[in-house]
Amino acid sequence: MIRTLDLDSPIPEYRTPAVSEESRSIMDQLRDAIDSSLSTIFLGKIKMSLFSEVSEIEEECSINNWDGAGSEPISPIAITMAELLIYSFPQGIPLPELTPATDGEIHFDWRVGHKQALTASLSNNGFLSFAFIKGGRRFHGSEPFEGTFPERLSDLLNELYALKRVA
C-alpha cells in the first residue's frame, strides 16, 4: 500500500503496544526529523511566496512615476536587496507585507495592532534602515546588512510579537 504524507495534516501517531522503548525513541527522533524537514519546507513555502510578491512588485513598479508621485522605478538592485533579506529569514519569522516605496526600496512591514508595528528596508548600498513603534516606545536606526538576518530585527520582532527569540 502506498502512503503519502499530507503536508496540511498533523503527523499521525504511530504507536503500537508491542514497540520497545528503544524503538519508541527511534520513532520520536524520526518524528523530530520529519517535523524539522516540514518546517524547512514550510519556511521554503513562505520564502517562495515572498519572492513571488517581489516579482509582482518589480512588474508593477518598473516604470517611471509608478506611484504618481514622480518616483523612479524600483531598481533591479532594490529587488535583489529585498530578495537577499528574504533569503536570510530564519525559521519563526512572522510573515511581513512587502510594500514598494517612494524611496525606491521595498519595505518589509509587520503590524500587530494599533501603534505596534515595524518597518524595514535594505538600501541599494546594503544598509538596513528600520523604524519601530510599540505603544509609547519608538525606535529607529540603520546598520549594514551582513548577509544574515539582522539581530536587531530579530529583537524588535520578538518584542513586537512578544515571542521567544526567533533567531
Partner: protein, 131 residues
Amino acid sequence: MPSSELPEEVGNSELLARFVFQRRHLYQDGQPKPAAFLPNSNNETSVSRVDSLSDQEIYIEGKECERRRTDNPTLYGRALVGNEVVLDLNLRTVKDEPPPRHANIVGWPLEQSEKKLIALGIAEEANGLKY
C-alpha cells in the same frame, strides 16, 4: 485652475486626507502603511485639506485627484489624519494651490530611518479606508 477659499495657514487640528493610489500602501483592513506617507523626491507629502467635508465629499475629492493625475491611476483608498499629528512629529503642512485644497507636508528629515519612524507615526494615527 481655481484655488479654494481655504485660509493660507493650515489649522492646527485641520483634517487632512492622503489619497492612496498604490494598492500595497494599505493593509487589508484599510490601515495605511508607513510608505503611504513617505515624501516624494522633493521631500514633500501631498495631501488634501478636507476639514468639514463629509465622507462622500472626501471620496469625490479623491476621485477628482485621480482624474487630475496624468498617470492613469486607481484610487484605492484614503487615510485621514489631523494636522496636530503632523505638528507633533515636527513637520508642518503648507498650502500649495492650485489645485484646490492641495497642501504638502514638509520638513522631513533626510535620514531614512528617521523618515520611516515619522511616516510610521503618522500612519498609526491615521484613519484608513479602502475604496
